[in-house]
């Protein structure tokens, strides 16, 4: 079951700041969603392989060949902050 502690942990990992009332709201909502999904466990899945893909394909690869040149400016120009050729981000605490 989903409780306040779980919601707090998930919020912390997702870098979300929740108010007390949001926390209560999401605890109820996430609990409802999981209970809904849980109906699936009523099915007998003995002998059924877990699915990791929606299509029956495997080993889809590309050759190790360089793409045509790109202008990095197209990407850099969309950065919220940059400094010359670098992306600029807020100071981070020591890893």
């Amino acid at each position: 079951m989903i409780d306040h502690t779980t919601v707090q942990k998930v919020a912390r990992l997702a870098r979300l700041q929740l108010t007390a009332s949001e926390e209560t709201l999401f605890t109820v909502q996430l609990g409802d969603i999981l209970a809904y999904i849980d109906q699936l466990s009523e099915l007998d899945t003995t002998g059924v392989q877990p699915t990791t893909r929606a299509v029956e394909l495997s080993n889809v690869t590309r050759p190790d060949v360089r793409r045509p040149p790109l202008d990095p400016e197209q990407l850099l120009s969309q950065a919220p902050q940059r400094e010359e050729a670098f992306y600029r981000v807020p100071r981070i605490s020591e890893p």
Partner: protein
Amino acid sequence: MIAALPQVQYEMVIGLEVHAQLSTQTKLFCGCPVEFGAPPNTHICPVCTGQPGVLPVLNQRAFDYAILVGLALNGEIAAFSKFDRKQYFYPDLPKNYQISQYDLPLVQHGWVEIDAGEGPLRIGITRLHMEEDAGKLVHAGADRLSGSTYTLVDYNRAGTPLVEIVSEPDIRTAAQAVAYVQEIRRIVRYLGACDGNMQEGSMRCDVNISVRPVGTEKFGTKVEIKNINSFNSIQRAIEYEYIRQMSALNGDNPTEVIRQETRLWDENAQKTRSMRLKEGSDDYRYFPEPDLLPLEVTPDLLAHYQAQLPELPIAKRQRYQSEWGLSPYDAEAMSNDRTTAHYFEEAVRHGAPPKLAANWVQGDITAYLNEHHQRFEDLPLDPGGLAELIQLIESGTISNKIAKELLPELLERGISPKALVVERGLTQISDHQQLIEALQQVLAESPQQVAQYREGKRKLAGYFVGQAMKKTQGRADPQLLNQLLSSLLD
């Protein structure tokens, strides 16, 4: 009287995580070039900067290399494996997750054999999986991280293909850890799968280490050491950490504590320092990567890869000893990298006695290559030429000394040693009459020394031989000179 308590002996339990960058042209999931030292953010695209809506596609060559490394490490290649997302927030990771492999890695249950001077030891390999590298952070505003006011990011490295090789906690000493990483490095270099350059970060190593009293089974608290980028720092980081943990356990240093944490090796200070408390792995919330299809390796495909494996360093080391009688030291020197091994083996195939070929290869030829910043594959003198040179010495045509004098020119010009010897008129003189004449001249010029010799100063034989050598411009056969000298004097 109170008897002194017996001193508790502690041992280390070490496991290593080696990250090896695969030698591909392009990144793991996009066609961006992989190139060390390129100007910042020149090798980026929508895929490796995590733009919405893009699809990663696996690099075939990275997949090939990962399987070959797995096989070379005696691992079991998974018939079915997949990619997963490892989620955490850090600005070097533009997608906020790293594509890695979690519960179904490509390879499991491998091993390598090492010898850290105590005889062969097998180190288990828990797993090998593929993953993408992160970008590089540049801390601006101050040279130390704590003082920086903001951070700059270069995503050239983001998406570079890596394999992570995780060992079992089978290692007990710093020397074993170094030998293990050296063997992994030799193997990946043999395969051409990774260049093994630790300075440029193509091979990186994290050390997991705990300490326990000898004879106990239970592991102590595990500490992870990161930021190790040379064999020397592997050795010293482990030695430092051993003493630190031991002093905490036996109470020598009450302020020292062992926590489950990540520590950084500080190369300047030559010590480890605490970085952060290690998060539980459940915090990464791994789940299967929905944008990539699984990997299947059928028995046929596996056989195809097995057929591509070259003879590996350990097999060469053993063969050089058992078939060719090399010492363990020479066998290792000759098999350290593939080009040296190839040169050596070719010289032997052309008839050079293995021990002599090994001496030339690791001695004068390696010195020449180092001095001229060349590699074996650049060398104009082919291995057949080396075999010919050795043959000239063995047959007594030239002396060892003359061979050494000729070597630089031979290596540089790549001409036949026989031809050069004839060209220079350097054939060794083995003609008895000629040598006797030279000796007689010397004896006639040194009556005093002859008298001393006759009085028992036998060491003077060396003087006479040396003088005769001079008279023949070093071309006389020294052994023959010695024999002839004693027939003249005794």
